[in-house]
């Protein structure tokens, strides 16, 4: 399995990653090689195998729907690049 330039551009867009034009050939090579390694999986018959999502096949634990933490907005927003009046600021989205 190999990928081409247009795959790289498409996947980079889906992943919200800016990739320089000059680096695209390197990604084409690297990803094609990695997918070549991954391709070994296709030789195995897995028709009757149940997928394993989790090592211990554990069920999701539930708890009562109660408040378990306090509001720490100011503390967390102190880490943000841009905030105002308790809101996170981003470039204008709606005209």
């Amino acid at each position: 399995m190999s990928v081409d330039r247009s795959d790289i551009t498409k996947v980079a867009r889906l992943a919200r990653l800016k990739i320089d034009e000059a680096d695209v050939p390197q990604y084409v090579d690297n990803l094609s090689n990695i997918l070549g390694l991954v391709e070994q999986m296709s030789a195995v018959n897995t028709d009757d195998v149940v997928p394993m999502a989790h090592p211990l096949d554990a069920a999701q634990r539930l708890r009562a729907d109660e408040v378990s933490d306090t509001n720490q907005r100011d503390k967390f927003q102190a880490l943000a690049p841009q905030v105002e009046s308790g809101l996170y600021l981003v470039p204008k989205v709606i005209e």
Binding site: L37, Q40, M41, T46, V49, P51, P55, L56, R61, P91
Partner: protein, 484 residues
């Protein structure tokens, strides 16, 4: 004093022979002396360390000390430590002062252990050489032209150079065991769910597990006594009683059934390493263990399968780094898309971007069944191999790595070759089993690790099996010349 195990340091602190402040200062001095060359620490938390050491001394005097009270240790920079920069080896988090404490580091803090600093690592724990760190490569104390392994390379390099007597690490595909092998240390990856992942920055959530890096199995037991346990803040934490990991260290191992998977001794294994491992197995036979050849037929599929599962989970986990709430943000974003793509493009390094791309690709429309679902099915087959093996044997042994530490830069440009250096460690994470790497000898002056794989939650037995070997040998006590 700097070459003592934490078991010995715990004793000298109690006897009053040395105070925690003196001990902490000694290790801080050693870090300052050697960190420029080895680059194993990203942050040195001197002021906090001395404060914690003074508090530990009070506690020792008052007679309410725990075994690790006053013992200095280092934490991998993947654990959030409140008020201390937590980078995960990435430019993305170069400005991130963690607003809360991980459960793992909180447990050490509460036990009175003193944090010396945060250790270097492959960016977001993605790497096997510690060369993907934004903060630069880490050097192997046994040969500074070589890599220490990764991703817990900083923790392992620091302990091997005796800049810290023990450290925490994390292991997603071998990131504790592989560097421990390459630097001559004892490293343990516990059963998935045994140690809380709360506050441990996520890479691949169904594989990540924290564990100790120490000189000896006896020390690893002391660390596990602090780290292990249920945590309601980690939804995959296992509610199961924590044994005293020190209690069974001295048990005899006569009659222990050791399985040797033939797939771990075939093509690709360096002949000199094979000889070291054979000698270690002979030592176990001399101690009364019984050896049996077994087969783990799907071993060869572990690396290909891992490079679907881990990138898929990583691409999902790392979507939280968006340049909005914390972490790196690009200058002058034109619009929201530009803000996301440039912040992430600038904040992540090459290997992280590669893995996000692979993960996004295998999860994208039309490919999910062929890649991710297929990988989850093969994961089941890999896991079933181990289940079948543990019906016949008590532990599984083999080499931790196919070669000794490689040269800096040697594999940096070829991701697939780099990935294959984890060929013996990855299957264990896929299955969620516990495994240790223990020092078993040297090839041309470079350490070799013996991997010991146990059944689910059988860490006590792993540590017992490792300890008996360490009583009969002294590979684990060897110190690189420059750091003696």
């Amino acid at each position: 004093m700097h070459t003592k195990t934490i078991s010995q340091l715990s004793a000298v602190l109690r006897s009053g022979e040395v105070s925690s402040v003196e001990l902490t200062s000694l290790f801080l001095d050693r870090i300052k002396q050697h960190n420029l060359a080895l680059n194993c620490f990203i942050s040195i938390t001197e002021a906090q360390a001395l404060e914690a050491a003074a508090a530990a001394d009070q506690r020792l005097k008052a007679g309410n000390a725990a075994p690790l009270t006053g013992v200095p240790i280092a934490h991998k920079d993947i654990f959030c430590t409140e008020g201390v920069k937590t980078t995960c080896g990435s430019k993305m988090l170069d400005n991130f002062i963690a607003p809360y404490e991980s459960t793992c580091t909180a447990k050490f803090r509460d036990a009175g252990a003193v944090m010396l600093g945060k250790t270097n690592m492959d960016e977001f724990a993605m790497g096997s050489s510690n060369e993907t760190s934004y903060f630069g490569a880490v050097k192997n104390p046994w040969d500074q032209g070589r890599v220490p392994g990764g991703s817990s390379g900083g923790s392992v390099s620091a302990v091997a150079a005796r800049l810290a007597p023990a450290a925490t690490g994390t292991d997603t595909g071998g990131s504790i065991r592989q560097p421990a092998a390459l630097c001559g240390l004892t490293g343990l990856k516990p059963t998935y769910g045994r140690v809380s992942r709360f506050g441990m920055i996520a890479f691949a959530s169904s594989l990540d597990q924290a564990g100790p890096v120490t000189y000896s199995a006896e020390d690893a037991a002391l660390m596990m006594n602090v780290m292990a346990g249920f945590d309601e803040r980690d939804s995959t934490s296992v509610a199961r009683e924590v044994p005293d990991y020190s209690a069974n260290l001295e048990n005899g191992i006569e009659g222990l059934k050791i399985g040797l998977p033939k797939e771990y001794f075939g093509e690709g294994l360096d002949g000199n390493i094979a000889r070291v491992i054979d000698a270690a197995i002979k030592e176990y036979e001399a101690l009364g263990a019984v050896v049996k050849e077994i087969s783990l037929p799907n071993t060869g599929l572990a690396v290909p399968t891992y490079y679907v599962v881990a990138p898929a989970e990583c691409s999902t986990n790392l979507s939280r780094f968006d340049g909005v709430r914390f972490g790196h943000r690009c200058d002058d974003p034109q619009d929201l898309f530009d803000l996301y793509t440039r912040s992430r493009g600038e904040g992540f390094g090459l290997e992280v971007k590669r893995r996000i791309m692979i993960g996004t690709y295998v999860l994208s429309a039309g490919y999910y069944d062929a890649y991710y679902l297929k990988a989850q099915k093969i994961r089941r087959l890999i896991s079933d191999d181990f289940r079948a093996a543990f019906e016949k044997v008590d532990v599984i042994m083999g080499p931790t790595t196919p070669s000794t530490a490689f040269k800096l830069g040697e594999k940096a440009d070829d991701p697939v070759t780099m990935y294959l250096s984890d060929i013996y460690t990855i299957a264990v994470n896929m299955a969620g089993l516990p495994a240790a790497s223990i020092p078993a000898g040297f090839v041309d002056g470079l350490p070799v690790g013996l991997q010991v794989i146990g059944n689910y939650f059988d860490e006590s037995r792993l540590l017992n099996v490792a300890h008996k070997y360490q009583q009969a040998t002294d590979w684990h006590l060897q110190v690189p010349k420059e750091f003696q």
